[in-house]
């Protein structure tokens, strides 16, 4: 198999008929058959052919400063140079996010080719998605278990009397609360609960106990919803 897949000559380039063909030719056949988890893979820049230093974060070519097309097999944690862990440092996420946007933002590539502007739009959108998902503890939790193949059932219905009675009471309290102080008091309790179940999620996740992880997610969703109602009232 050809390992050197950068442009051989302008003649070669001229022979390519479609964008896709170009990409296929440049990346090499191996890459297109299976892009998941093969660490020996080397990605190459479509523009200058340079090898990616870090194949899991190849959004941007440092050599020629070209934006690369989105690679779906790079997960959100990889985009931010993180391992699959629940606890993250939000300040670090923010810093990395800003760094990426400096390189990827479509507004910054207006002088570049149509092709690259499209890559920038896709790449930038994905980084924004990743950032939003990872900064919120609940969406981060849901994403983490999704990576393990565990999906939250969007249409699940439950009859757990204890949990539901608690949530009912909570929502009623929010609804009936009058004044900022009353609402803030409830909010403080909510933050406490969110912290507890956040930790509970992490324990469950680390022990690969996905049932408990999902239970924690359920709780966090209910508390987050209640918090949203408080925020609306404040």
């Amino acid at each position: 198999m050809e390992q050197t897949t950068h442009l051989q000559s302008s003649d070669d380039f001229a022979q390519r008929k479609t964008e896709k063909e170009i990409r296929v030719a440049l990346r090499g056949p191996k890459e297109n058959h299976s892009i998941l988890g093969v660490t020996a893979q080397k990605y190459h820049c479509w523009n200058c052919g340079a090898n990616a230093e870090n194949s899991t974060q190849f959004l941007f070519c440092e050599a020629c400063r070209s934006v690369q097309p989105v690679n779906e097999s790079t997960d959100y944690f990889q985009i931010f140079g993180l391992g699959r862990e629940y606890k993250v440092k939000v300040e670090e996420l923010e810093k990395k996010y800003k760094d990426w946007q400096k390189k990827l933002h479509p507004d910054l590539v207006h002088s570049k080719s149509q092709r690259e502007r499209e890559y920038a739009a896709e790449q930038s959108a994905r980084v924004i998605d990743a950032y939003r998902t990872l900064t919120d503890p609940l969406s981060r939790a849901i994403y983490l278990v999704k990576l393990e193949g565990v999906l939250v059932n969007e249409e699940e219905r439950i009859t757990d009397p204890e949990l539901l009675a608690e949530v009912m009471e909570l929502r009623e309290a929010v609804d009936e609360a009058e004044g900022t102080r009353a609402l803030n008091e409830i909010q403080v309790q909510l933050q406490e609960k969110l912290r507890y179940w956040s930790n509970s999620f992490e324990d469950a996740y680390l022990n690969k106990n996905y049932d408990d992880a999902l239970a924690s997610i359920r709780r966090m969703t209910y508390y987050k919803r209640a918090n949203e109602e408080i925020v609306k009232k404040l």
Binding site: N153, E156, R157, L164, M168, D175, E229
Partner: protein, 168 residues
């Protein structure tokens, strides 16, 4: 109290659901009607022996629905019903419709109320079908609760408890 409930729970929900919703969901006029003219919002004393309380939830949406029935012991008919739902417009309307439909009916009959009928009545889009399922669950849970209370206080076995049908 009713007005307060409606303007705050339902009013806010309508504003946020219709106004702020990214997908700009269109609500069928019946759903909107149940917002503007809510029927049977409220609470019965859950310790009342003639009251059955059904409490169900949809955790992915953060929804919680309580449906209560007041049963006439002699006739076995549901003489009154009320609900309290925290959730989207479709969930609120579904539970509201449920309380309307169970009133005046014998308990066995309400167990056959199907979510599809509620959904059709409200013209619920596919993505909201589970809201009507929640209402069906709530009806069954309320009946089951009433039956459980009755058999506990009776201490004797009546003929085939309705709870079995409710589990089906």
């Amino acid at each position: 109290m009713l007005r307060h409930l409606t303007t705050t729970i339902l009013g806010q929900r309508l504003r946020s659901a219709v106004g702020g919703d990214v997908l700009r969901r269109m609500y069928h006029e019946r759903v909107v009607d149940h917002y503007n003219n809510p029927r049977n919002v409220g609470s019965f004393d859950k310790n009342d022996p003639n009251v059955g309380t059904g409490l169900v939830g949809a955790p992915a949406c953060g929804d919680v629905m309580k449906l209560q029935i007041r049963v006439d012991e002699e006739s076995g008919k549901i003489v009154d019903a009320c609900f309290k739902t925290f959730g989207c417009g479709s969930a609120i309307a579904s539970s509201s419709v449920a309380t309307e439909w169970v009133k005046g009916k014998p308990m066995e009959e309400v167990l056959s109320i199907k979510n599809t009928e509620i959904a059709k009545h409200l013209s619920l889009p596919p993505v909201k079908l589970h809201c009507s399922m929640l209402a069906e669950d709530a009806i069954k849970a309320a009946v089951k609760d009433y039956e459980a209370k009755r058999s506990k206080s009776n201490g004797s076995q009546d003929a085939e408890p309705l709870g079995k049908a409710a589990d089906a």
